[in-house]
Amino acid sequence: MHHVNQLKVAKVVKYILVAVAISILSFLAQSAFAQGEIEIALFLLVAIFGIGITYLTKVSIPLKFFLPGLLFLAAFALGPVLYTLVMSGFQYQTGNYISKDAAIERITLLGVEPDEAGTTFDVVVGRDASGDFAVLASDPFVTNQYFIASESELEPVDPAGLELDSDGIAQGGSGFKPLANKELRRVDQELTQIRFKYKGDYFLQLEGSDIAAVKRQKLEYLSDSDQFRNLIDGTLYSDNGLGNYANLENPDDVIQPGWRSPIWFSHYIDLFTDSKVRAPLVKVFIWTVIFASLTVLTQFALGLLVALAMNRPIWGRRIYRSIFILPYAMPSIMSILIWGGMFDTEFGAINNLFNSDVAWFQNANFARAAVIIVNLWLGFPYFYLVSSGALQAIPSELSEAAAIDGASGRQTFWRITLPLLLQVLSPLLVASFAFNFNNFNLIYLLTGGGPRNDLDGEIAGATDILISYTYRIAFGTNIQNLGLASAISVIIFIIVASISLYGIKKSKVLDSFK
């Protein structure tokens, strides 16, 4: 009886959870759709149907267990990976960030020029007699003109019927009602887009809430030929295929802003052929490989040395062990920041301890050494722990037999112990290499990738590894080039995947899948 009740409760809970999940996702899908985020809306729809079918029917029992994890993986792991791939095929950077339609709209809006005299009027924003937005413009000093301009009409008015302030600037009257401050703030955005009628081609555009300038359209969009025409000198600007409208006779003459435009494999081609892109990348790549190799080598060597030293029940071994584990137990973020302070040139503890005067982070080689030293501190305990385990697993008969055969301790180590250890630990060495290949936190928090020559506009620093370099390209201070950064990310994906697959093959994990 009790059991049946439990089942009922479980069912009710299930229906409630499914209903809540579906309502939230539907709400999001609807908002996404309304904002034109079609891809996201479609993904959410798929998720909604997936949840409905999986939990309200009996299609697949395993799927009931998988679906939540699967949806998260799809949305925030696989999705971004695919999106990176797509972005790498686009001109996607500062100045080429919006869609083409948005760019055309912006160019049209910004493609105006003031009249030759740069005429401006003092204005009050309000509504005219028919209730449309209008400006009441005053020029009490030069022409003594007053007029009300709406989008469609320009109507001169007699100052006699107006309320003038002490400077002679009209504040209202003649059927014109100024906007209250509250409404002014509310429609502020809208007002900046309105073109109030003026003479001929010219119109009035608000510059702030009480000044309007006389302007005329300079760039006109020709939707038939997808070009912009300069109305004044007749120059034509066409889509240059790189996300900008450019003057065909002078390709450097481009209109800003551009848009994110598909350029397919150009970023990849640049990576290998354009020396401005390739040279720093090769430099960074070489250091990345050196850094990851040196890290694994030094961490493993030191960890193994400590493990060998502790491989006998010597006095105080437990205390030693708990101390050696501490660097590994500390949150690495904190440790890296602490080391950063210790390497400070003027006041840092390292220079203080050795009574030296080294500018650690200003000199390329010292900065590289510092990075390796800090990483050694962070990582040797790991290799100490795994080497200790592996050493204990090596049967003592082997070294005893070698000793009987007359091998010295040193020979036994190099010929027997080390090869056996390497065989056991090589997957871990490979995994560690792959991890350090992308050890962003260490580089970013310790040296920031530097030293680099900022004055030359150099992006790649002496200690930058691929991932920190990519980050700087994507989110740096000058130009943020998300497209190129994505292309480099894809290359790193491929490298890391190859290394990891090699490691997995060695560790034979795949064979254990049944």
Binding site: F65, A77, L78, V81, V306, L326, A329, L353, W377, V509
Partner: protein, 283 residues
């Protein structure tokens, strides 16, 4: 005696050297935190004065919302740990205990996915969350909710993989018996498996907590407001490359923040080390 020297002296030399190397930075932080001058400059490696000024500053200075950072970190890392284990456990159960088509392919895909650090797709995550912000500002770029979602997705692969490893080591007999008694997979999962796996789930949750605590760059990209930052982003911004200033309070702050993590880590040593040898590396 001579034999002892020959066999053991070098062990202690290595041991003492490494004790110095391991402890030096930690010792330095401790003496910096109790040094009333708050400066990076150490006049003596033996503390002459003792002061709690740096610690007090963390809890009173309005420019360092330390407690808020701590709370943010606990909430974010705690929620990520909890949700990812709830979701991950069911997937791990299915991988470990159920038979279905495409299991091998699924495991291989999972293995590949869990190797990719989320940071590689950071440009894409940024743009995607920017787009999410357009229609749902409460969970897009710049919000803790958005960051939690990104963490959950990014850690899901690793967590399922780790959980599967642990779950595989739980003996099959009990759920086999339940199956014989006519229990459905759902019943086996909730009534037999979850109670059995509870300790393992707790371990994975704590590991996930440490992982999130140590995450820096996504948090830094997402959490711009001073008040919404995590402890890692907050403290990094606080010293911001200017080590000479703010060093004392930073030292105090990093000690308080590190102690719980070190305790969790040391108490989970056994599991972490076996997890490590299974091929995953702590972040």
């Amino acid at each position: 005696m001579k034999k002892w020297l020959r066999e053991n002296l070098w062990r202690h030399v290595v041991g003492m050297t490494m004790v110095f190397f391991s402890l030096f930075p930690l010792y330095l932080v401790v003496i910096s935190s109790i040094n009333p001058s708050g400066s990076l400059q150490i006049t003596s490696f033996i503390p002459r004065e003792f002061s709690t000024k740096n610690f007090k500053m963390l809890f009173s200075d309005p420019t360092i919302p330390y407690l808020i950072w701590m709370r943010n970190t606990l909430v974010i890392a705690g929620l990520v740990a909890l949700i990812s284990v709830v979701i991950g456990a069911s997937a791990a159960f299915a991988f470990s205990r159920l038979r279905f088509k495409g299991k091998r392919l699924g495991l291989q895909t999972l293995l590949l996915v869990q190797m990719f650090p989320a940071i590689l797709a950071i440009s894409a995550l940024y743009v995607i969350m920017e787009r999410v912000y357009n229609f749902a500002p409460f969970m897009g770029l710049g919000t803790q909710t958005g960051l939690i979602l990104v963490y959950l997705g990014g850690a899901m692969g690793v967590n399922i993989w780790l959980l599967k490893g642990f779950v595989d080591s739980i003996p099959l007999e009990l759920d086999e018996a339940a199956k014989v008694d006519g229990a459905s997979p759902m019943q086996t999962y909730w009534l037999i498996f979850i109670p059995l796996a509870a300790p393992v789930l707790a371990v994975v949750a704590l590991l996930s907590f440490i992982g999130t605590f140590n995450e820096f760059i996504l948090a830094r990209l997402f959490l711009v407001d001073m008040e919404s930052r995590t402890i890692a982003v907050g403290l990094q911004g606080f010293i911001g490359g200017q080590y000479s200033q703010n060093w004392g309070p930073f030292a105090a702050g990093s000690i308080i923040a590190s102690i719980p993590i070190v305790i969790i880590f040391l108490s989970l040593q056994r599991y972490i080390i076996s997890g490590l040898t299974a091929g995953s590396v702590k972040g």
